[in-house]
């Protein structure tokens, strides 16, 4: 079983990386690009026997307390 956790900066928070990438894409002629935001993701391999609901709880807990700082980041996740 795998969980994927996607972490991104809250939309109100400045994303200097995304901004810089956006600028250079535009300078390189990718005129159709209107905005870029950067995030990170984690692919977490979980013990197979784990029930879906337990997995969900575990993943939410670690995403909230370890993988993100809720002050500036938010996350989504999927379990596959």
């Amino acid at each position: 079983m795998h969980a994927k956790v996607f972490v991104s900066l809250k939309s109100s928070v400045l994303d200097p990386q995304g901004k810089t990438i956006h600028n250079s894409l535009r300078n390189l002629g990718y005129g159709t690009v209107q905005d870029v935001r950067q995030g990170k993701f984690f692919v977490i391999k979980l013990a197979d026997g784990l029930g879906k609901e337990t997995a969900r709880q575990e993943v939410e807990k670690m995403a909230r307390s370890v993988l993100t700082n809720p002050v500036i980041e938010e996350f989504t996740y999927v379990i596959e």
Binding site: V13, L14, P16, N23, V66, P70, V71, I72
Partner: protein
């Protein structure tokens, strides 16, 4: 004026304003304020911006001197270093943000202090930081420390300023209140200084840098309130730093300043656009009118209130000569930075803010700056200031059999005494190719290209001493910072300070503050090191728990010629080791406490950090400032006379810890031991480990001893030959007894592991 929101007492309270302050606003305006105006007043009258509690005390600090070009009141102090060069330096706190989001909080702290320096036209050439955390055995403290150090590294390294020094202290009182004080120093030609003044009616006001977003709205008021569980909800205040943008801003600003088209410039720090406009107008006695529709914005639908109070980073406000704005804007465009005329300087002394032509705020600049409220808050000396309750003297007999070598090894492994390499290895401390003395010497040393000068700098604070005796503790911080400079061969020039305290509304805290100022003022006068600027951080309290009063001194000195620079370690076999200054000070209470604290500690093998446990049971050590000055004078004269090979300050951990530190390897210089004969006639544990001030360990060639003796005699300073450098062990003898005999390699290993044993494998 359109009043869009009715100002209820509830709203006033949310803005951290008292009823009296609100009445004063209404009197100043002659009407009720708009919400935007209320926001502007609230940030400018916050503790952080107005210094309303500290101002009456700060006035007692010495701030002038023949070399001071600019004292407190500008973005940074400026000192003349000769040969047409001047330096600008300052320290600032970013404590609260670093607690909430360690990486970004610390990073933006570095960004802020760098802007304070280059806004004056100086190119930053060195940075330092003073850090305080809770003990590392707690995960949360490790997490904060890792984030803070990484954040400082990320910002400073990318910007391209060498982070050359600082200090790190661990104490329980900083667990929920970490301190992050960032220092920066820049250099420029004396005739190229820029000030934050909006001169010249009709001159355009130009906004440059990052776009404005809803960042840190109310950061200034956040830094002026205690923390509680509710602060969770205040969290969106945290800002993200963009060091790349700051680097471009630096280059563009310095290039624009060369055109002579710039009249005044100031960074937008705390309270952003509000603070920079009213302060620039206030200093020049002019007014400023801006229209917010021209302000570059990152988000849509921002209200005037939000735009005025935003604390988005990497922004500057400048005033250019009328007619030359295009010249300035072109330079910023070259660096791909927004630069927009948003208003002009007026004659009426008002800050007038329009939004698409409609006035949304109109306030006299001076009402926001110089005429902001000032409070003489009540002071109260706490009943017991000394927490080390005196123990009955147990006599020294039970210490007779102590294994002092073992004690030394334990002390060297303390996070409070061990190597800081884990920290400074993450900082680029060599960029700009000026770093003569890398971190780990008593002070950092930066050469000044195109001259034969070098600058030495250090940060020193001691919350532990100040908790016991705020006045003496502050004086010791000044003395120690000067001593650190002297040890590397520098003459102290001037200082900046960062005053970290608890809640000023508590009379005991205000008393501590007042005492600290007096102690600092006395010492700074004596050492002729004026305070040219600084920062006050109050409300370092979480859930009612406050920090020890923690004033941090940033001291800067001059070495000329640069070849005089000295290290703080043993260099050659057979050099002599000697102590400048009295081996122990005179203070019976302290002396007894040292003995008692050892007896307490040595019977507790379970202590995880015996040094910290021991030292926490001691009162503030004594200091005789006049004697201190003589010791420092002697050391400096000896270095200038070519008598000394190295010099090292004896401070935390006392004489033996200082000796051990001198044995360690440094860059390509291998570790090297020494044999030391301690003088008899003193209480042993005092001689070995007590933290008496006014002592400097020096090494010299044997042939220079008579000259040094003569010099010390002339200055009435004790000079005590202690032994000889050589071998691969540190041997400390006392009469017939061998007290300590340790392999240098073994000592160096535990010393180097003091932080890494906690920090290596965690994120």
């Amino acid at each position: 004026m359109i009043i869009e929101t009715e100002i209820t007492p509830e709203i006033v309270k949310q803005h951290g304003l008292t009823d009296e302050e609100y009445d004063r606003i209404v009197r100043i305006l002659g009407r009720y304020p708009t919400l935007t105006e209320l926001g502007i007043f609230s940030v400018m009258w916050s503790e952080h911006c107005s210094y309303k509690s500290s101002k009456p005390h700060l006035r007692r600090l010495p701030t002038g001197g023949s070399k001071v070009i600019q004292g407190p009141g500008e973005n940074a102090g400026i000192v003349d270093i000769g040969d047409d060069y001047a330096i600008a330096f300052k320290i600032e706190s970013h404590n609260h943000p670093s607690f909430v989001e360690p990486f970004q909080g610390a990073a933006t702290g570095v960004g802020g202090i760098l802007r304070d320096i280059f806004t004056m036209g100086a190119r930053p050439i060195a940075a330092m930081n003073s850090l305080r955390f809770g003990p590392l055995d707690k995960v949360q403290n490790r997490h904060i420390m890792e984030g803070v150090v990484a954040g400082i590294a990320a910002y400073g390294n990318c910007f391209g300023v060498p982070t050359v020094g600082g200090e790190v202290v661990f104490d329980e009182c900083y667990s929920l209140n970490p301190l992050v004080n960032a220092f920066a120093l820049g250099i420029f030609k004396k005739d190229r200084i820029f000030y934050g003044k909006a001169c010249g009616v009709g001159n355009p006001v130009i906004y440059v840098g990052s776009k404005t977003g809803r960042d840190g709205i109310h950061g200034a008021t956040m830094a002026s309130a205690e923390f509680d569980e509710e602060s969770e909800s205040k969290r969106p205040n945290v800002q993200v730093g963009d060091p790349f943008m700051e680097k471009l801003l630096l280059e563009a600003c310095l290039e624009a300043m060369k055109t002579s088209a710039i009249v005044g410039i100031q960074d937008m720090g705390a309270a952003g656009l509000t603070c920079s406009t009213c302060e620039m107008g206030g200093r020049a006695g002019t007014g400023i009118e801006i229209d917010l529709q021209f302000v570059p914005q990152r988000e849509t639908g921002m209200s005037p209130y939000e735009i005025m109070l935003s604390e988005s980073q990497e922004r500057m406000l400048l005033v250019a000569e009328r007619g030359r704005e295009d010249e300035v804007i072109r330079i910023f465009k070259k660096w791909e930075i927004d630069a927009v005329v948003i208003g002009e300087v007026t004659a009426d002394g008002l800050l007038r803010v329009k939004d698409c032509g409609v006035v949304v705020a109109e306030i006299p600049n001076l009402a926001l700056t110089e005429e902001a409220p000032v409070y003489n808050r009540p002071l109260l000396k706490p009943a017991v200031t000394s927490s080390s309750t005196p123990h009955p003297a147990l006599g020294t007999s039970s210490l007779q059999s102590a294994d002092w070598g073992d004690v030394l090894m334990h002390f060297l492994s303390s996070p409070n005494l061990g190597s800081r390499e884990w920290v400074f290895r993450q900082y680029d401390h060599m960029v700009r190719t000026n770093t003569v003395q890398v971190p780990s010497a008593d002070a950092a040393v930066i050469r000044v290209k195109k001259t034969d000068k070098a600058l030495a700098m250090t940060l020193d604070g001691n919350g532990r001493y100040c908790r016991q005796n705020p006045r003496r503790g502050a004086a010791i911080s000044v003395a120690e910072s000067c001593r650190n400079l002297v040890c590397v061969g520098a003459e102290p020039l001037a200082a900046t300070n960062c005053l970290n305290f608890g809640n000023p509304e508590k009379p005991e805290i205000m008393w501590q503050f007042s005492e600290v100022i007096d102690g600092m003022a006395e010492a700074c006068r004596l050492f002729a090191t004026p305070i040219t600027g600084g920062n006050v951080s109050f409300y370092n309290e979480t859930l009612g728990e406050g920090i020890s009063p923690t004033p941090v001194i940033g001291m800067v000195g001059l070495i000329q010629p640069v070849t005089l620079v000295r290290g703080s370690w043993f260099v050659h076999e057979s050099d002599l080791v000697a102590l400048l200054g009295d081996p122990v000070g005179i203070d019976e209470e302290y002396e007894d406490a040292v003995t008692n604290a050892f007896q307490w500690c040595l019977t507790r093998p379970e202590l995880s950090d015996p040094y910290t446990s021991w030292v926490n049971r001691l009162p503030c050590p004594p200091i005789d400032l006049k004697k201190e000055a003589k010791v420092q004078k002697t050391c400096l004269e000896a270095i200038h006379g070519g008598l000394l090979i190295s010099a090292h300050d004896c401070s935390d951990g006392g004489l033996v810890v200082a000796l051990a530190e001198m044995t360690f390897s440094h860059l390509r210089k291998p570790a090297i031991g020494a044999t030391i004969e301690l003088p008899e006639g003193y209480r042993l544990e005092n001689l070995l480990f007590a933290e008496y001030q006014s002592r400097i360990l020096v090494t010299l060639g044997e042939k220079d001893l008579p000259k040094l003796q003569e010099l010390a005699g002339r200055n009435s300073v004790t000079l005590l030959p202690l032994g000889t450098v050589g071998g691969n062990r540190l041997r400390v003898n006392w009469g017939p007894r061998v007290l300590i005999e340790k392999e240098v390699a073994e000592m160096e290993k535990v010393w180097k592991n003091s932080l890494t044993r906690f920090l290596v494998d965690s994120i």
